[in-house]
């Protein structure tokens, strides 16, 4: 592994000051399960993606850790581990969608050390991107190897230039729960709803979200869901044990007394360069009996999908999974 300088700030202000001082070649590290054990150890680099010269370790900032739940919602520090999220009774009670999504990440060994901030901000898993020898668009090169290569796990929606799928399970769930990110930077704090947090390759092929090089995600806030909100998570993997999603579905919605869709969100992971909010499906369901209309609504995913040479199967999988997940949530 390339060597680097290590900084251990004691508070967020110090962390930001360090990022400002060193510039884009400094990166923050949470658990390091992606940045160190993935990107840096495997020399994933290019013109648009130099390997960091300095790491700013956030684990020395105790304020970034912890889960607080009150009437308004849940606040989770960016350095909270996925295991801490899975084991939180408070989250399980009202935010079971996040509990389930976090539980489906990797294995206990990675959840014990991997953080929420790292999970949301991890880099994509496209196998060309992760291979040192492929200098693709996402690394600042001028080619996408997935178009002519093996693209069985790539995007079916929203690909352009680059066809990654967003790898984070928690991000998919958080978007369905209408959560927001709190970000600290040199110009102060800002709050960004996850609706606006993730960006596709058309906006900037070199990154997956709006976070700037000198900013740190400090916490995530999830508003308390309306009473009676139904929540469900499903994730299809290639193997029974730990793996990234081929397709995942996060749904959070309310129905009226006669079982008609009142309000809610359907978000898919594994299909697009960002966690994909299926507003088409939501609109189709609005005001209609969920049980009777879900089959037809789920089929609208077909109109949004533009599969690649080897991944048309994912369209069928996504359609079926949306249907099953929502029916499952109805109980």
């Amino acid at each position: 592994m390339k060597n680097f300088e290590l900084y251990e700030p004691s508070n967020v202000r110090e962390a930001v000051a360090t990022l400002v001082k060193i510039g884009p070649k400094a990166k923050v590290i949470g658990g390091g399960s992606d940045l160190v054990a993935g990107v840096m150890k495997d020399w994933v680099q290019g013109n648009g993606m130099p390997l960091p010269d300095a790491l700013v370790d956030l684990s020395t900032i105790p304020q970034l850790k912890g889960i607080k739940v009150d009437k308004t919602g849940a606040t989770i520090g960016a350095m909270t581990t996925l295991t801490e999220i899975v084991e939180s009774k408070d989250l399980q009670k009202q935010f079971s969608l996040l509990t389930q999504a976090a539980h489906s990440v990797a294995s206990p060994l990675i959840r014990n050390f991997g953080t929420l901030g790292g999970n949301i901000n991890q880099r994509p898993r496209c196998w060309f991107y992760r291979g040192a020898e492929f200098n693709c668009y996402k690394k600042g090169g001028d080619f996408c190897y997935s178009v002519g290569g093996d693209n069985r796990y790539h995007a079916i929606i929203g690909g352009e230039l680059c066809y990654i799928v967003h790898p984070s399970d928690t991000a998919t769930a958080l978007l369905a729960l209408n959560a927001q990110a709190k970000i600290a930077g040199p110009r102060g704090d800002r709050t960004v709803p996850f609706d606006q947090y993730f960006i596709g390759p058309r906006e900037d092929v070199l990154r997956e979200n709006i976070l700037k090089a000198d900013e740190v995600m400090t916490e995530v806030f999830i508003p308390t869901p309306a009473p009676g909100t139904k929540q469900a998570w499903s994730k299809l993997k290639n193997r029974q044990v730990y793996d990234f999603a081929i397709v995942s579905v996060a749904a959070a919605f309310t129905t009226d007394a006669s079982g008609n869709w009142a309000d809610g969100r359907v978000v898919l992971g594994g299909v697009a360069p960002v966690p994909y909010r299926a507003t088409n499906i939501e609109n189709q369901l609005k005001g209609k009996n969920v049980k009777n209309s879900i089959k037809q609504a789920a089929a609208t995913i077909r109109t949004a999908a533009r599969p690649m040479s080897m991944n048309a199967y994912k369209v069928d999988v996504a359609q079926t999974m949306v249907e099953r997940t929502i029916l499952g949530a109805l109980g």
Binding site: Y7, S10, I110
Partner: protein
């Protein structure tokens, strides 16, 4: 630039100067020459490198040694005492939970983590708990039996404790401040 670290390994305080890029597993094996912890894939897949970091099982190939500064680490060498195998090791011995043994140090540490949280796990729960540890020899059947055997032994010794599930502690960084590099440059 090297950093001083102080890590308690199997109950013994160890002080060293390490480069920040040194992985915990290499620190254990190459610097301290405690080689029971294995390296398989070095990419967080196989689990051969599993150790306990402040009582929680993690893959030591994904952790920098400097990230473990001020923490305590238990490796497979820390399980037996005075040459007597502990209950989990004994369980693997009795139920033939290993063939080549490459995965065993990691599996023993994952099994301990599970049994601390859940003293009477179902076979299904065991399979889920060890899903970050790959074994190419046994087919897992005997590993599941070994962990059930160990659970039984441990429950027999501590029947009261066996009833309540112990949640993991919220780990706060307790690394030593005074040795740290100033954050602002």
């Amino acid at each position: 630039m090297k950093f001083p670290v102080e890590i308690t390994v199997n109950g013994v305080k160890r002080r060293s100067e390490v480069e920040p890029r040194l992985l915990l597993v290499h620190y254990l094996r190459d610097v301290l020459e405690i080689t029971g912890t294995h390296v398989g894939c070095e990419t967080g897949i196989c689990g051969a490198c599993t150790v306990h970091l402040d009582d929680e099982a993690v893959k030591s190939c994904m952790v920098l040694a400097v990230q473990a500064d001020g923490c305590s680490v238990t490796t497979v060498e820390g399980l037996a005492s005075d040459g007597t195998l502990d209950d989990v090791q004994q369980g693997f011995w009795e139920e033939h939970g290993l063939q080549c043994g490459y995965c065993t140090p990691g599996l023993l540490m994952s099994a301990h983590d599970l049994l601390r949280k859940s003293p009477n796990p179902s076979a299904e729960e065991i399979r889920r708990a060890i899903n970050g540890n790959l074994c190419r020899c046994t087919g897992y059947q005997t590993i599941v039996h070994s962990i059930q055997n160990a659970a039984q032994k441990m429950r027999a010794k501590k029947p009261a404790a066996a009833k309540q599930v112990q949640p993991a502690k919220l780990r706060t960084s307790k690394r030593k401040r005074e040795q740290r590099r100033p954050a602002t440059v």
